[in-house]
């Protein structure tokens, strides 16, 4: 199944993009659909919808926007919504895209929060919550491993990772201070060098 989905992406140069004259309503509905169906991580759903189904973006544009989304603060999902909405319809496109992608999950979690308040202490619920919490630790760790494989280039990068963890968890520095100090060190280490 994933093969048939990646093939059209590879032929993207010959496929005409569909990005002109998309209406605000279509943008909102498409992001609302992604927001309501993207269980287990938004990125594959974004690609399936924006690149393969709607052809609003080429695969290359998608990867480029994703890398911008990852280096700016903010979640990938909402940053992507902003960039794609902006590309299609300027500021109003960006606003409806981000509203659409946030609406279903936030309403759902609002309701979950009310139920949790009432039933969170029941024995069956505490058991289930223990399992869920342990699983989400594994989930975050798997993201750490996958990102590390993809984007840590040299041994010193691992030192920056460890420095960041030690600063936050051991030295109890604020995330902001750590981000600025270790971030500046790492950016300077990777500074442009004359070839």
């Amino acid at each position: 199944m994933s093969d048939t989905e990646t093939n059209p992406g590879l032929q993207q140069t010959t496929v005409e993009l569909n990005a002109g004259g998309v209406s605000i309503t279509r943008i909102f509905l498409e992001f609302l659909t992604i927001g309501a169906t993207s269980f287990g991580g938004v990125v594959p759903y974004l690609r399936g919808s924006l690149v393969s189904k709607q052809r609003w973006l080429s695969d290359k544009e998608f990867v480029e926007m994703l890398s911008i989304s990852q280096s700016l603060p903010g979640l990938n999902a909402t940053n992507m919504a902003i960039l794609v909405g902006q590309k299609l319809k300027g500021s109003s496109g960006a606003i409806v895209a981000v509203l659409g992608i946030c609406l279903p999950g936030s309403v759902l979690m609002f309701i979950v929060g009310i139920f949790y308040r009432i039933h969170g202490d029941h024995a069956w619920a505490t058991g289930a919550l223990k399992g869920v919490a342990a699983a989400s630790v594994g989930l975050v760790l798997s993201t750490v491993v996958q990102l590390s494989k993809k984007s840590l280039e040299e041994r010193l990068d691992y030192v920056f990772v460890i420095l960041t963890v030690v600063a936050v968890n051991r030295l109890h520095q604020s995330v902001l201070v750590t981000l600025v100090v270790v971030g500046a060190m790492a950016v300077l280490w990777h500074r442009p060098r004359q070839a």
């Binding site: 940053n79 308040r117 594994g138």
Partner: protein, 173 residues
């Protein structure tokens, strides 16, 4: 006491820390929402974050119940605006411009430098989460099991978290 100004302040600040993912802000979120403002307990925060992983959409919608509990419906909406507004505005303003900077040599330096720091922040958030989620052999086994399955297969993570809920319901008292 009216918590709305504090909710807006805290979540707008947390918003700017989410470099590389929402988890990067988790240690600070624990300090501010649990220790400083006492809007919820540490285990409630861990539960909300974890349950939130099963919801579709951006994976930090667990902030909505925090806003609701501390400030009602208005608090929930305010928290969303505070958490997503500043970064949305930043991305809107910087995104286009960033694309045009392709030839600027520092652009790649910034991206390569921020990568290890954002991974470190994610890992730090994970340790903070683990302190409230791993209590012994069974919970550790679930975490390691989920990690290994996700690294070996292409299964949907939300299904695994749901599976762990069932395992937990049946085996923990």
């Amino acid at each position: 006491m009216n918590q709305l100004p504090a909710l807006a302040r805290v979540f707008a600040y947390l918003s700017l820390l989410t470099v590389g993912g929402g988890m990067a802000a988790f240690p600070e979120m624990k300090t501010l929402t649990v220790d400083v403002h006492q809007w919820l307990t540490s285990s409630q925060l861990v539960h909300l974050y974890s349950v939130g992983q099963m919801a579709p959409g951006p994976n930090m919608m667990m902030i909505v119940p925090i806003g609701d509990w501390a400030g009602g419906l208005l608090g929930a909406i305010l928290v969303l605006v505070a958490f997503f507004g500043p970064t949305a505005l930043l991305t809107f303003m910087v995104g286009r411009w960033w694309t045009k900077l392709e030839m600027w040599p520092w652009r790649s330096s910034i991206q390569r430098g921020l990568a290890p720091v954002s991974i470190g922040l994610l890992l730090a958030g994970c340790f903070t989460l683990a302190k409230g989620a791993i209590f012994g052999l069974e919970t550790a086994a679930i975490a390691v099991g989920v990690l290994l399955i996700l690294l070996q297969t292409k299964i949907n993570p939300a299904l695994l978290v749901l599976g762990a809920a069932v395992v937990g319901m049946l085996s923990f008292d």
